[in-house]
Symmetry: C2
Subunit: 366 residues, 2 copies
């Protein structure tokens, strides 16, 4: 994937830097780990420090000091999560800030404007995020609204690119905009959504509205039915997913781009990913365990520290524990993506996926 | 200063790793910053994970994955701070754990035993830490008790070195033990304490019981009166001090070794040290300030990030903010020590000290 701030080898995983920083690690650490692209959240940055301030500073890359690619979401997902603080109508979402209660509106145009000011390399259109479960009728109505919003978002984006929206700075003239396929767990709706979104025409396409509580098999099925409807020469991005198993399963179904808070959030809760499945470092069995978290891992944490020490740091509430766990988990995710890319290059993805999933889930099965 | 885990250039500053980790940074970061020695707290490690566990793991260096020198305090200072949970008698201090309320005793022998098991490169004797202010009589009685404790601690240390204390593992056969001079703000008592402590005979000596609320001028005066009573061929350690100004003033009075939580704790509270005095990064004036925290600083934080970004991270409660601030402050402290060593080498310490202090305090004076 080519962006205004460099290329990204796909399939790729994007660490989540909600407020312009990935929780627990510095950019330098991310760079060392080989992260090639970050995701940042429009909702949070819009409220604090504000897209105007970031635009004055020359855009998000310069503001946060990260010169590689950045993708921003539309802010919609966060706003829809403010269930009792927001209303939605055809024009957009209307909400109160979780910080100070102030009133704001997020429309397809506004979401494009904010992201233009942030200057991310990839901007996402505002989509309606439906809660799971939803009826097919509700999913259809929501999908259709998302299509109308997508057309408005694209119009605005084109106008922004021409530099003719007063008061909005296009911080990154090379910004791309991705459309989002919706349609819940209904393959027929997904096909309509994909077809119509592609007709509007974006630099690339994402699948939204999954990983929201449906069973994994349902998600894999929807992905299988949707990716063939999206152009094969453009990256396909599965939003908000997932477990290591989800990554492998979804790449096999045609996905190129992922983001998820699992590796970072779970690190702070003491869960470490390994090829044999996750372990909980707070477990008493590790109190005296001088082995590395994952004996096969080459990350800085595993090269230097024992399970006993990481458990001690976790129980002591030491920040270094969160950092060391985060470094390990991000390394595991990024390294898994590297191995997937290698397997694709060698034409052995199916074998790799089978072996990876078998080993990853074996302990849980016994 | 030579230790069992390598040499330390003096005068030196020791970052504080209370529970076996310096808050906000990894060991790798500390190494990059040029830290040559860490301080760790016996009280905390004794309670969790316990010195027995650490001894089984081969000592503190191996347990925490830090191969350079470590100094441990005696645990006394923390125990004395538990004002309503401890009693003191001639035998030692008796206290309840702040973690689970369990009852423990810390005697001069026990403090030596725990540190033997931790295997630090420098162990400190248990001393009585008097609150400030204290009468001269109280300070004298306490100083005399500290001397009796020092003799017991040395006896135990010698026995430990012979490997003949059942149930106690000497994790580091090259461990040194430092005596501690007490005597409050009374130079006469300090001279007695220094003379008698030197008579007992330790590898080197520390000055305790300062930086506890007395005015800086009083501390400097006590230091001036005490250092001439301590051997000039052994490092002199001023415990728990201090501000950047304190470091410069104290080196000029003969101090070689410092530890203090100021750079790390204040970093987490948003205070950054600069050659022009400290700044508070949360200040609204920095909201749009794209300059580095300290324009003359070459640390990773100042090379990459702006005041505006650090302020944003602080207000957002992002861990990366604490880490970046800590990196800067530790760099400032370690770099100040480097500059002091250079000034000594060139024979211009007095000039350096005058220029440093003048600049550091100028803004506050205007």
């Amino acid at each position: 994937m080519r962006t205004a701030h460099g290329d990204v080898e796909t399939p790729a995983f994007m660490p989540v830097g909600t407020q312009g920083a990935v929780k627990g690690v510095t950019h330098r650490e991310l760079d060392t780990l080989g992260a090639e692209i970050l995701l940042s959240n429009t909702y949070h940055l819009y409220l604090r420090p504000g897209d105007d301030l970031i635009a004055r500073r020359g855009g998000l890359h310069r503001f946060i000091g990260w010169n590689k690619p950045i993708l921003t979401d539309s802010g919609g997902y966060q706003v829809f999560s403010l269930s009792d603080r927001r209303t939605i109508d055809e024009n957009g979402a209307h909400f109160r800030s979780h910080l100070d209660g102030s009133a704001h509106s997020l429309t397809p145009e506004k979401a494009a404007d904010i992201q233009a000011q942030l200057g991310s390399d990839v901007a996402m259109v505002l989509d309606e995020c439906l809660a799971h479960p939803a009826t097919e009728e509700a999913a259809r109505l929501s999908m259709e609204r998302t299509l109308r919003w997508a057309a408005r978002a694209r119009d605005r984006f084109v106008t922004l690119r021409e530099g003719t929206v007063p008061g909005v700075t296009m911080s990154n003239p090379g910004q791309a905009q991705f459309g989002i396929v919706q349609g819940g767990v209904f393959p027929g709706l997904r096909e309509v959504s994909a077809g119509e979104t592609v007709k509007i025409g974006f630099e690339a396409y994402a699948i939204g509205g999954l990983s929201v509580g449906e069973p994994p098999a349902v998600m894999y099925d929807v992905v299988s039915r949707t990716t063939p409807c999206l152009p094969s020469d453009r990256p396909r991005y599965l939003m908000g997913t997932g477990t290591p198993g989800d990554l492998v399963e979804s790449v096999a179904r045609g996905i190129d781009l992922f983001d998820c808070v699992l590796p970072t959030r779970n690190a702070r809760n003491g869960q470490l990913f390994t090829q044999d499945g996750p372990i909980s470092i707070k477990n008493a069995r590790y109190a005296d365990d001088q082995g590395p978290p994952d004996p096969e891992c080459g990350c800085p944490t595993c090269r230097t520290h024992s399970r006993a020490y990481l458990r001690h740091l976790f129980l002591s509430g030491e920040m270094a524990g969160s950092t060391l766990n985060t470094v390990h988990n991000l390394h595991f995710y990024l390294d898994t993506m590297r191995r997937i890319r290698e397997a694709i290059e060698f034409g052995i993805l199916a074998d790799f996926a089978r072996a990876f999933l078998d080993r990853y889930t074996r302990r849980a099965r016994h």
